[in-house]
């Protein structure tokens, strides 16, 4: 692995190695001194062309806990707003000696372009590109599910588990990354969304599709339910173009206490955040004992530490 761009090309062994490494990283965060000297002298650049609080903070925390130097680059108020191209930005980072670039971009494929452009020799970690991929989020979701639902997590996948992803599949890079990763790890994936929020050409995806949350809960034994945020900022056309009203969306696809009670006893509730409480998830479901949403954030740091370690610690590959 030279870059972490998406989950589609990740092999099962690579994915399990990342999850197992994350397990050890999480254990180091229980120590008296949580900082490790592992990436001393390495420079990690957070290159963020799109707003993000938790992913950027999570990557920053992960890099700092491993003693890497972190440079934050936000497109707002930078040379990018003066019209600099991605290539020139990359060349600048190369000149500054970036060993790893964490990129979040509004354009799908930006991370791939940065990695394949031969503009910098460092490794590229995709922190979300448009509606394409968000691999570290999928990895932390898989890590969280494995911890809660698999008896002896270390070294194992998610074989036989049924995981439902509910909501705006069309705009969701989290959903795309999860579909491939969870399938690679042996889980079965169910997508639940209004027909307008299911991407065109979903045929080859290895998933079952339902158009109502109740129908999915009736039909299948769901081990984990992942609620996606309704991305108002991506829904051009007045915010209501994809479904008649937020109230109707909540009625058909929202997770509330009643629906939660109909899930199997062991089922967990996940959400990549930030949540729209009252829209896709009720406060009762979000704050229930079966919700692992806050834990996902903590696991995010461990998973990103693992990714940085596996990409940066070894000898440099040509």
């Amino acid at each position: 692995m030279k870059h972490l761009l998406g989950t589609e090309t990740l092999s099962r062994d690579e994915a399990i190695l990342i999850l197992d490494t994350a397990e050890q990283m999480a254990a180091t965060q229980e120590r008296e001194i949580r900082k490790l000297p592992t990436l001393r002298g390495k420079t990690v650049v957070n290159l963020f062309f799109e707003d993000s609080t938790r992913t950027r903070m999570s990557f920053e925390a992960a890099a700092k806990r491993l003693s890497a130097d972190v440079i934050n680059f936000a497109a707002k108020g930078s040379s990018v707003s003066k019209g600099e191209s991605l290539k020139d930005t990359a060349l600048t980072l190369q000149a500054m000696g970036a060993d790893a670039v964490v990129i979040r971009h509004w354009a799908s494929g930006a991370a791939y372009q940065l990695a394949r452009g031969e503009w910098l020799h460092g490794c590229v970690l995709n922190a979300g590109d448009g509606t394409h991929q968000h691999p570290t989020q999928a990895l932390l979701d898989a890590y969280t599910a494995r911890r809660h639902l698999v008896d002896s997590p270390t070294g194992n996948g998610l074989d036989g588990l049924r995981i439902a992803i509910v909501g705006d599949i069309l705009h969701s890079r989290v959903a795309r990354s999860n579909v491939y990763l969870l399938t690679t790890l042996g889980a079965k994936v169910t997508l639940v969304a209004p027909p307008t929020l299911v991407p065109v050409g979903i045929g080859p995806w290895p998933v079952d599709i339902f158009h109502s949350l109740d129908a999915a809960i009736e039909a299948q034994e769901i081990d984990a339910v992942m609620m996606l945020r309704v991305q108002r900022e991506r829904m051009t056309g007045g915010g209501a173009a994809f479904f008649p009203s937020p109230e109707e969306y909540t009625r058909l696809f929202g997770l509330d206490g009643a629906r939660l009670a109909r899930l199997p006893q062991h089922a967990i509730v996940m959400h990549p955040g930030p949540m729209n409480r009252g829209l896709e998830i009720s406060a009762e479901a979000a704050d229930s004992a079966r919700s692992v949403i806050v834990e996902q954030v903590a696991n995010g740091v461990a998973v990103r530490m693992a990714a940085l370690y596996l990409l940066l610690a070894g000898e440099e590959r040509p």
Binding site: L17, R31, E315, E316
Partner: protein, 181 residues
């Protein structure tokens, strides 16, 4: 020099002796914590703990034994392919004011032990740190020495010393291979 240097009975005797030396040096089993360095330091630490418990029944072999992975403290990470990280588990009461005995199979350049000392520092402040190794093959690159040694084996740098343990490899032996001679 090629072939088996220590067989199973030799190894058992060496470990029994080291266990008694640890007790002798520290005036009893109080505060002793054994930390094995993965991979083969772990079963060795466990065996030493069991032997100490035989001599001193008040010593709880289970809870005075731990694992200390030093991968993330190595100084040569950037020189080799990425290494997987092993498990670290410390006794529940921590290592503050304990006498930590590091346990490893082969003592060579001393760099592993240097990394282990750094790792220990992040877990707490033991009263003392001592080092027990099954084989000391020389060629130190740092001013570090062992407190307890199973066997000193003079080697050339090009030789390989392999420790085989029943828990991992199916039998107990120390084998030397390679070398220019």
């Amino acid at each position: 020099m090629t072939g088996t240097i220590l067989g199973a009975p030799d190894m058992a005797r060496a470990l029994t002796r080291i266990a008694h030396e640890i007790l002798e040096r520290n005036g009893g089993p109080d505060d002793i914590v054994l930390l094995g360095i993965p991979t083969r330091g772990l079963p060795l630490a466990r065996r030493l703990a069991e032997r100490i418990a035989v001599a001193e029944p008040s010593f709880d072999a289970e809870c005075r034994c731990g694992a200390l992975d030093i991968t993330m403290y190595r100084d040569d990470l950037h020189r080799q392919p990425t290494r997987p990280i092993g498990p670290t588990s410390l006794p529940s009461h921590g290592i503050d004011d304990a006498i930590v005995v590091l346990v490893d199979d082969v003592f060579h350049t001393g760099r592993t032990i240097r990394a282990a000392l750094d790792a220990i520092k992040d877990f707490g402040r033991p009263r003392a740190v001592q080092l027990a190794v099954l084989v000391d093959r020389g060629h130190r690159e740092l001013p570090i020495r062992a407190d307890f040694v199973g066997k000193n084996i003079p080697t050339s740098r090009s030789e390989r010393v392999a420790v085989r343990l029943e828990e991992i490899d199916g039998d107990d032996a120390v084998v030397i291979t390679g070398g220019d001679r």
